[in-house]
């Protein structure tokens, strides 16, 4: 079992035994207040992310997979502080030490350090699911790409922003002339390319890709996945790849974390997870994948009691639906424990 470090991890190497962590989440939680305003005192909360810890290593693609309500998007948004986490720590170990501008590593990410966040957000870029709602329709593509540069510590007034914009457009397979057009003139796949170009403008080391192909037509998805693979090797990127589709995640990722009800259920190298999914939830997810030639899942499957984030169970979040659930599962939440090197499972019955 992975021992937790103290709250103040001082360097990139610790008991986790991985020396090249780029991003380290320790006991991260997020609780939303359900009712704002007048009735807030009624005190209903949504436990979106519960005590999640994992590392993202430099240069890898880390896949986060889960269904709606699993907390995958909330978790990713806490990383870039689009959502402020309620507990735990997020530490970032930038390349080259990241000591510029009075900052020293690790960077402890929180929304009360504006200077640090400016540097961090130039290095870690978030790409959203729906490219048509994440690009301002009134702006030209050039303005979409370069507006952020005015606020980025990586650009000065004298920098050739235009030249850089042309470079990133070329990198995502678009042309210089496209800079003068508006987002509405592009198809869904091309808009997602524009989102990627915008992200690449500040030479980031990390991309967070949140369901980047699920709004696209089937014949376009492959283009964008291939492009991400190309960009990763070309720019030495680290990618956090979030999706609900286990097949897509297992294709794209080097390591995978499986989330359910805001908790990490299983984490493993992609090949391990594909061959030996160990957690009952991961197995259910795998059995549910529609694959040619695979028989339909058993018709007798009962819906079970789905996870309710306003009233999370004391025990395992999956206990209400788990075919293996015993008394202990509703009483006690299992810890994420290592069962083989790099393969961690949170289940009382998987050792």
């Amino acid at each position: 079992m992975r021992p937790f470090g103290g709250k103040n991890v001082s360097a990139g190497t610790d008991a986790r035994g991985i020396g090249d962590a780029l991003l380290r989440l320790d006991h991260v939680s997020k609780v939303f207040k359900l009712e704002a305003g007048l009735f807030a005192s009624a005190g209903r909360f949504v436990w979106a992310v519960n005590d999640v810890s994992f590392d993202v290593n430099r240069g890898e693609t880390y896949g986060l997979v889960g269904e709606s309500g699993s907390g995958k998007t909330t978790l990713a948004r806490t990383v870039v502080q689009l959502v402020r986490h309620s507990g735990g720590t997020i530490d970032y170990y930038p390349a080259g030490g990241g000591t510029s501008d009075g900052l020293s590593p690790p960077w402890r990410i929180s929304d009360d350090n504006a200077n640090l966040l400016r540097h961090f957000r130039s290095d870690v870029k978030y790409i959203f699911q729906d490219p048509s709602s994440s690009l301002d329709p009134r702006m030209s593509v050039y303005r979409v790409l370069t507006t952020g540069a005015r606020y980025s510590p990586r650009f000065s007034r004298t920098d050739d922003v235009r030249g850089k914009a042309v470079d990133v457009m070329e990198a995502v397979g678009l042309r210089e002339a496209d800079l003068e057009r508006r987002p509405s003139e592009f198809s869904g796949g091309q808009r997602q390319r524009i989102s990627l170009a915008r992200a690449l403008l500040s030479n980031p080391s990390t991309l967070i890709c949140d369901e980047v192909v699920s709004a696209l037509d089937v014949s376009i998805q492959g283009q964008i996945l291939n492009l991400l693979v190309d960009l990763k090797s070309r720019f030495n990127l680290t990618i956090i790849f979030i999706a609900h589709d286990l097949t897509v995640v297992s294709y794209m990722a080097d390591r995978i974390g499986v989330l359910y009800g805001g908790s990490m259920m299983e984490e493993a190298p992609a090949a391990n997870l594909v061959e030996h999914p160990l957690h009952p939830y991961t197995q259910l997810l795998y059995n549910s994948i529609p694959e040619l030639g695979k028989p339909l899942p058993s018709r007798a499957t009962t819906p079970g009691q789905p996870f309710n984030p306003t009233r999370p169970p004391q025990g395992c979040p999956f206990s209400g639906r788990c075919p293996m659930a015993q008394e202990i599962c509703t009483a006690e939440k299992p810890a994420l424990a290592e069962v083989s090197p790099g393969h961690r499972v949170a289940c009382h019955f998987v050792k």
């Binding site: 089937v218 492959g222 259910l284 994948i289 529609p290 040619l292 028989p295 018709r299």
Partner: protein, 335 residues
């Protein structure tokens, strides 16, 4: 593509040379361009296609739900009756009783201020005005149990917002079955649902197809899903059937370059970016207001030649004797 073995009596639905076009500000939008298919009693026909392929418009035409402003040509025969000859009232009588439909977003298919019991009561009353409250509740309970809703009788008092998406889609299916239709059309019924719930719903549809001898049309963009449930499959692109055949063979051994390209462009279980590059289908789905004369997939096809642009190739049957058919001027892709 008629199957001579199919006696007229076993046929629920026959669609011949169906074309639907809409007048838009950008010009004439040709949504469906000459679609033929048949549906035997108790069979599941899968229609797979991307957005703009015409799969949903085909379904709407079968339901008689195409607006009068649209130009519809061809023939749709339900149990031998051509529905284009029917009046609005006659079409309404057919809906629900002969053919029913469920949609993608179950929460949007319910009236939020009606309890589930009330919704069922109205649905029964549409075909049987004399039905009593008690009889409606009894039959609704039966239908809800058939789609595996626990405590069906109590749940009739509940409102749509008190159910999860998966439960609502089960109730939607039960409602569609309320007047014992022969044909059920499911248009992307699981796209808004989580994958573990999707598996339950697809399993339920298959169960009902077999138990009730229901003729099912299952529409989806997901090739794997259609391959799992359908006995026969149509692959549509830009309003045209590019390939048809028995499922899942038509998807495991496709002859149409489009079907092949779709399969090659998606990751399969166990494949990894480090060892297998996905095939990139260049370009985008064609604009339906500017249809060119040739094969609609030609501009994106890796086997394209000059003659592909001349005309839409005829549907030719698969030489391997699989009963499938495809459109391609080449002999299709070799598998």
């Amino acid at each position: 593509m008629g199957d001579p073995r199919a006696a007229e009596g076993h046929r629920s639905l026959a669609v011949r040379a169906l074309s639907v076009s809409f007048q838009t500000a950008e010009g004439q939008l040709r949504a469906v361009r000459g679609v033929d298919f048949e549906l035997e009693r108790g069979e599941c026909l899968g229609i797979v296609g991307e957005s703009g392929s015409g799969k949903s418009v085909t379904a709407a035409a079968v339901m008689g739900l195409i607006s009068k402003d649209a130009a519809t040509e061809g023939e749709i025969r339900i149990d031998g009756t051509d529905i284009s000859s029917l009046t609005v009232e006659e079409k309404r009588a057919l809906r629900g009783k002969a053919v029913a439909m469920i949609f993608q977003e179950p929460s949007r298919s319910f009236d939020p201020i009606y309890s589930i019991g009330k919704t069922f009561e109205e649905t029964f009353r549409a075909k049987n005005p004399a039905i009593t409250k008690e009889e409606a509740a009894r039959r609704a309970t039966q239908l809800l149990s058939e789609v595996h809703i626990p405590q069906a009788e109590e749940r009739l008092k509940n409102f749509p917002h008190q159910f999860s998406g998966g439960m609502l889609q089960r109730i939607m299916i039960a409602l569609a079955l309320a007047n014992d239709p022969e044909i059920l059309i499911a248009d992307e019924p699981t796209t808004a649902l989580d994958v573990t719930i999707q598996a339950q719903i697809v399993g339920l549809l298959k169960e009902l197809q077999e138990r009730r001898q229901l003729s099912l049309i299952f529409i989806s963009h997901d090739l794997g899903l259609v391959g799992q449930i359908a006995d026969r499959i149509l692959v549509m692109y830009a309003g045209i059937v590019l390939e048809s055949g028995r499922g899942p063979e038509v998807l495991t051994r496709p002859r149409s370059p489009y079907t092949r390209a779709l399969l090659d462009s998606l990751p399969s279980w166990g494949s990894h970016y480090s060892t297998r590059k996905l095939y990139t289908i260049k370009g985008t789905v064609p604009d339906p207001t500017h249809s060119e004369p040739g094969c609609p997939f030609a501009p994106r096809c890796r086997f394209v030649e000059e003659r592909c642009a001349a005309e839409v190739p005829p549907l030719r049957s698969d030489e391997n004797g699989t009963g499938g058919a495809y459109r391609c001027v080449h002999s299709g892709v070799k598998t």
